[in-house]
Subunit: 322 residues, 2 copies
């Protein structure tokens, strides 16, 4: 592999001059620039990014930390994040935490060693304060700490929207099928928006939330059905929950949407999926991904942030379940 030294020798200039040509520094004579470019061409020289990074003490790598990329929402997100990063000359390091706090910590440690320029994450637990001093971090979906910028969908508005759409579809006896409320992802805000709008309209809502991550879905949904007799409308905090509910309910002879209307949240459900699609509150995944990247790059550039949580507008995507 040829290095700058070789280029410099061949072009008959100093090594620093080669550097300036490569970095587009304008204080170079056209003649010299031409000679250097010739030499680069001839030697097929390509700059060694590692050396550059070592010198500059930062890399062109940005990490995206997700629970698992094998989930439509996260893979769609990753896709946009990669695209946006690429357009700014950064590369994407993808890490799966499996939602395990210890794994998350370990990964962040490794990322520090690798001197990534910044970290984008859907975190499962708060990021250590000390890390924040050393690496720019932007959180997605989960506002753990006040001092990390966080990009989310407008969960509160989404919850309200879900309620209004269920009512519009004719449902009157509603249930909320939620997530563990102690994990501060934004599901609680979806719930609160939903409940707030419901109470404004004087509509009763049964809230059903697990106390810990769900292991046995069948048992869980069985319990849900028991506790919500006569229900005719459901808002699920995530599409996946909605889909599982529907599969389970139909086996029990409950028809969707005739007997029960269902609205999910996320917008992951395979568009034009087999036979039916889920009505859902669609998160603005693309905007969230791109915005998170741009915020992170601002941080990397040393600019300060204006606000702390950036909620992005959601839309209702009608399907066949309302």
């Amino acid at each position: 592999m040829p290095s700058m030294k070789d280029v410099a020798k061949l072009a008959g200039v100093a090594i620093g001059t080669v550097s300036r040509v490569i970095n587009g520094n304008p204080t170079v004579t056209d003649e010299v620039r031409w000679k250097v470019q010739q030499a680069i061409e001839q030697l097929q020289y390509v700059p060694n990014e590692m050396a550059r990074n070592l010198k500059k003490q930062t890399s062109n790598l940005v990490a995206l930390l997700v629970p698992t990329v094998w989930h439509p929402f996260f893979s769609e997100l990753a896709s946009y994040v990669e695209e946006e990063l690429d357009s700014w000359g950064y590369k994407l390091l993808l890490c799966n935490s499996g939602s395990k706090p210890w794994k998350e910590k370990q990964i962040i440690g490794l990322l520090e060693q690798n001197k990534v320029a910044g970290i984008l994450g859907i975190f499962s637990n708060p990021v250590e304060e000390s890390v924040l001093h050393r690496i720019p971090v932007v959180s997605i979906d989960r506002p753990f700490r006040a001092n990390i910028p966080c990009v989310t969908s407008d969960n509160h508005a989404g919850g309200k929207l879900a309620l209004h759409e269920l009512v519009k579809a004719g449902a009157r006896r509603l249930a909320y099928l939620g997530s563990v409320p102690t994990v501060p992802n934004e599901c609680v805000r979806r719930r609160d928006g939903f409940l707030e709008a419901a109470s404004q309209l004087g509509i009763p809502v049964t809230v059903f939330e697990p106390e810990e991550p769900i292991g046995d879905w069948n048992a869980y949904l069985e319990r849900f059905l028991d506790q919500t007799p006569g229900i005719d409308g459901i808002f699920a905090s995530q599409d996946e929950k909605a889909i599982r509910y529907i599969a389970f309910a139909e086996k029990r002879g409950i028809r969707v949407p005739e007997d029960v209307k269902v609205i999910g949240y996320d917008g992951i459900a395979f568009e034009g999926g087999l036979r039916a699609s889920l009505s859902t509150i669609r998160q603005p995944v693309e905007e969230m991904g791109r915005m998170a990247v741009r915020l992170l790059l601002q941080r990397i550039a040393g600019e300060s942030m204006e606000e702390k949580v950036y909620p992005l507008p959601v839309v209702y995507r009608p399907g066949d379940t309302t």
Copy 2:
């Protein structure tokens, strides 16, 4: 950020000694090791991976190049690849090529600059010979060149399997809904396996393949229906095609599986999706991902490969469309 120099000074030893302690070199006295570890602890020292990489002229980064991670097959693959890499101490660099040859080339160039340890890819066009001399490469799904190891599913066997399952389900007048045959992904082998098994049983098959990537699905499927009247069984070269066909056909009053049985290929279709699932030939995604990683790491370690194409066994996953 403290460096080895600081640690060495604090521990009162030479800088090289610190290096040996960190790398677990056994030729270090327990006493010295202890002193160094104390110093590391005290200074909160973490090795700088960049400097290490520069010196060793390689990184702990492996790139995975996919057309788009926003496709269930690729995101599942990425997930397993990441996990396997992680277990070997490598990190995953994710790149989307968008199936664009120019983009693919550009990315590979950047990866070279970044001195990735190796590249795993679902390539859309042949990788330049010169690159192969410099970086270990393993191809997934598409055996472009004889000199790159390639991990695929056993497409030929998968095609045969599809035929037998369609016949078992009672179909007799079959069609193959395929992909552009000039792109040497392995779809042609699926077709050939399908046709071979069909001719052995003396069953006629209508082959329908686009000449270029499909733009207008409606027009395309319209044409397909016109050219395959009276068909009662379809093998689609990819799940996505199968799903689109079904959605389109049902609008035309064709019932699946009553009128037409359908089998896809990939195994991506959302398990337990809304109401119905696709019958499909499932690729062994996990095995493919892990094997590709292991092959690549062998290459990186300088070992030679035994064979060139590694086909992994597929299974039939029955759904509601046969």
